[in-house]
């Protein structure tokens, strides 16, 4: 199977879906780039991370729309278009910008269907770059997963590898509900096997990346490679871990999580978000609620620190959960009886 980067996989998904369906449009800042410069036929950048490369040239500026820097209007416009017949893929360049447009996301987009008695359909995808590790500092490095997940009406997706990225984005575009599609900055360069044809991965279907009866590690987005590293290190000592990547936090594949928790009784959850009200807290609470008797030890959460994301690399590395921290948490959970 051909190897592609996460960016290429996403780019393919967009190309294929825009080919297949004329109502799919892309809208955001610099999605083509160069609008209003040099005669307007320049694709200056194809998205700040290159995910939209080639789309502007191929489909033209009526379907690939560069916008001013005006997030509220971007999301609001995209939501309105979605409700009335288009299938927009809007880009929120960095998830941290959700502040200036959050009303359009959580009060409008998320609630149209419900408020209007099921009569409205908002097939909007908001693609956004999340996560720390590039020293992009406090206002360009957050994850905000739980902010979105907590809002009824939104679906929240965070692929951890190129194969998932393509399948989940195609699924998101075809899904008739609003989807917040979280792309982790550090994963854009990740390579992996990605089929050339289009395919979907259903939501609420976790992926099992390692299998073992001793301990369950739940991780998502950029924490998955670290979880796998931790699991493999522990395997050398004869400790066999199951690693589960939920892929989507809303809807969530509770069944897979509970089945493994019930089997191992020992759970570690790795989440790059800040600790309070994180996805890790949420999943932990679900497990305690539904599989308490099976637990042999308290659930351990490995999260970022309760602070804004620091700029200096030395501090940022201390902020983000690392493989050693995951292994430590696993040992704690195994050590408890």
């Amino acid at each position: 199977m051909p190897e592609k980067t996460y960016t290429e996989a996403l780019n393919e998904a967009l190309h294929q879906e825009m080919d297949r369906d004329d109502t799919v449009i892309v809208i955001g800042e610099d999605v083509a780039g160069g609008a209003g410069t040099q005669g307007d036929d320049v694709e200056a950048i194809g998205g700040i991370f290159g995910v939209c490369a080639g789309l502007g040239k191929k489909f033209g500026r009526t379907r690939v729309i560069d916008t001013p820097i005006t997030e509220s209007a971007i999301v609001g416009t995209a939501a309105g278009a979605a409700m009335t017949g288009l299938r927009p893929v809007a880009e929120l360049m960095f998830v941290d910008f959700l502040g200036v447009c959050f009303d359009q996301i959580y009060n409008q987009t998320a609630k149209f269907r419900y408020m209007f008695g099921g009569k409205a359909s908002t097939p909007l995808v908001i693609r956004t770059a999340v996560g720390a590790g590039l020293s992009a500092a406090a206002q360009h490095s957050q994850t905000m997963f739980s902010t979105f997940t907590s809002v009824p009406g939104l679906k929240v997706v965070m692929p951890s590898n190129p194969y998932d990225a393509k399948g989940l984005l195609i699924q998101a575009i075809r899904d008739d509900d609003p989807v917040i599609f979280c792309e982790h900055k550090l994963l854009y360069a990740m390579k992996g096997e990605v089929p050339d044809e289009d395919y979907t991965i259903p939501f609420a279907e976790a992926n099992w990346l390692r299998d073992g009866e001793d301990l369950t590690i739940i991780a998502f987005s950029a924490m998955v490679p670290k979880a796998i590293e931790a699991a493999d290190k522990l395997a050398e000592e004869g400790i066999k871990c199951t690693v589960i990547d939920p892929r989507t936090t809303s809807p969530l594949d509770e069944e897979s999580i509970l089945e493994s928790a019930e089997e191992t009784g020992r759970v570690v959850i790795v989440d790059e978000s800040t600790p309070r009200c994180s996805i890790a807290s949420d999943i932990s609470s679900i497990i305690v609620d539904k599989a308490f008797k099976a637990l042999k030890a308290p659930i351990k959460k490995v999260t970022a620190a309760h602070s804004p994301v620091p700029f200096s690399p030395a501090l940022e590395q201390a902020f983000i959960p690392q493989t050693e921290g995951i292994i430590e948490a696993c040992r704690e959970v195994l050590g408890s009886n």
């Binding site: 780039g33 200096s312 690399p313």
Partner: protein
């Protein structure tokens, strides 16, 4: 303006230019992490405005904030250390290029959120009015931010509250990679600001004197309680949106032309020599001084230690 003042202006602009050029170099060598947005080319605006401001006056800036920082008097060494993420940086390494601040100098911070600063500046102006301390606030924005909802709201709020804030829009022709011509629907930022009820001015952002004179008037009016105003400065940036931007949106030869014809430092130099009787050598001396300063800061910055990970969660709260 007196000779010393002019030399000071030149030094400040020169410091910004050299600082930015050094950042470019250091970034390309991998000594600066994260994202950096260079101000080179826009110096006349920052210095033209900030020359009228004291430490007690406040400014809010953008992600392209090094120039405003230096113009407002922030410590250059502290800035360089901060941008390199060092423990003794202006913000202890926690903010970085996009969040440089020094409240003791009235610099309310560079802001990574486009349109993030104007509302804050309005707040600073409200304090000034409430306390009656004769100070003003300046909100620097780009042409990109001029389209952001928060900017519109800030302008309206300033007019409604009649607070001493000046909105300075630096139109360098590009909002990220998109042309200002395309993104600003009304084409004329100043004219649009007028619609909010502000007196507005347009200046040539590459001519220090034009900026200085007009900004002086706007700031004086604000200090005298005559309310907020807006300034649109037509300027240029030499670099891309960020360091590493391939700048595919520029026409061929555009940058060369800009450097030849619209370099505010060149323009200033020729003007002060011809109209104010300054000498080439005096300016060259300043160039040398500034280069030495920047070199020194770079050296010390590279050698300085990174912050201790114990500092990760300090300064989140005052007490918790």
């Amino acid at each position: 303006m007196k000779k010393e003042e002019l030399l000071k202006v030149y030094k400040t602009m020169r410091t910004i230019r050299s600082f930015e050029e050094q950042c470019d170099k250091e970034f390309m060598q991998g000594n600066i992490p994260g994202f950096v947005h260079l101000y080179a080319g826009q110096e006349a605006v920052a210095v033209g405005v900030c020359s009228h401001l004291s430490d007690e006056d406040k400014i809010g800036s953008t992600h392209r904030g090094h120039g405003h920082c230096i113009a407002k008097g922030c410590d250059v060494k502290g800035m360089m250390h901060e941008i390199m993420g060092k423990a003794d940086g202006l913000c202890k390494g926690k903010g970085g290029s996009m969040h440089i601040a020094d409240l003791s100098k009235g610099m309310l911070g560079a802001n990574a959120i486009v349109g993030g600063a104007p509302p804050t500046a309005v707040g600073a102006a409200l304090t000034a009015k409430t306390l009656g301390n004769n100070t003003v606030a300046v909100a620097f924005s780009g042409d990109g931010a001029s389209n952001q909802g928060t900017t519109f709201e800030a302008m309206n709020m300033a007019v409604v509250l009649q607070v001493p804030v000046i909105f300075v829009f630096e139109n360098n022709g590009y909002g990220e990679h998109t042309g200002a011509d395309y993104a600003v629907g009304s084409k004329d930022i100043a004219k649009r600001a007028e619609g909010f009820g502000l007196p507005t001015y347009k200046v040539n952002g590459t001519d220090f004197f034009d900026v200085y004179e007009t900004a002086g008037k706007a700031i004086k009016d604000a200090r005298e309680g005559k309310g907020p105003s807006a300034l649109e400065a037509d300027t240029i940036r030499f670099g891309g949106h960020f360091i590493g931007d391939p700048q595919n949106y520029r026409a061929e030869g555009e940058l060369d032309k800009l450097r030849a014809e619209r370099d505010c430092l060149k323009i200033f130099r020729s003007k002060v020599i011809s109209d104010f009787d300054l000498k080439e050598e005096e300016l060259n001396l300043i160039d040398k001084e500034v280069n030495a300063l920047i070199e020194g800061c770079t050296k010390s910055g590279l050698a300085a230690p990174m912050p201790d990970s114990k500092e990760l969660t300090s300064d989140v709260y005052l007490n918790y």
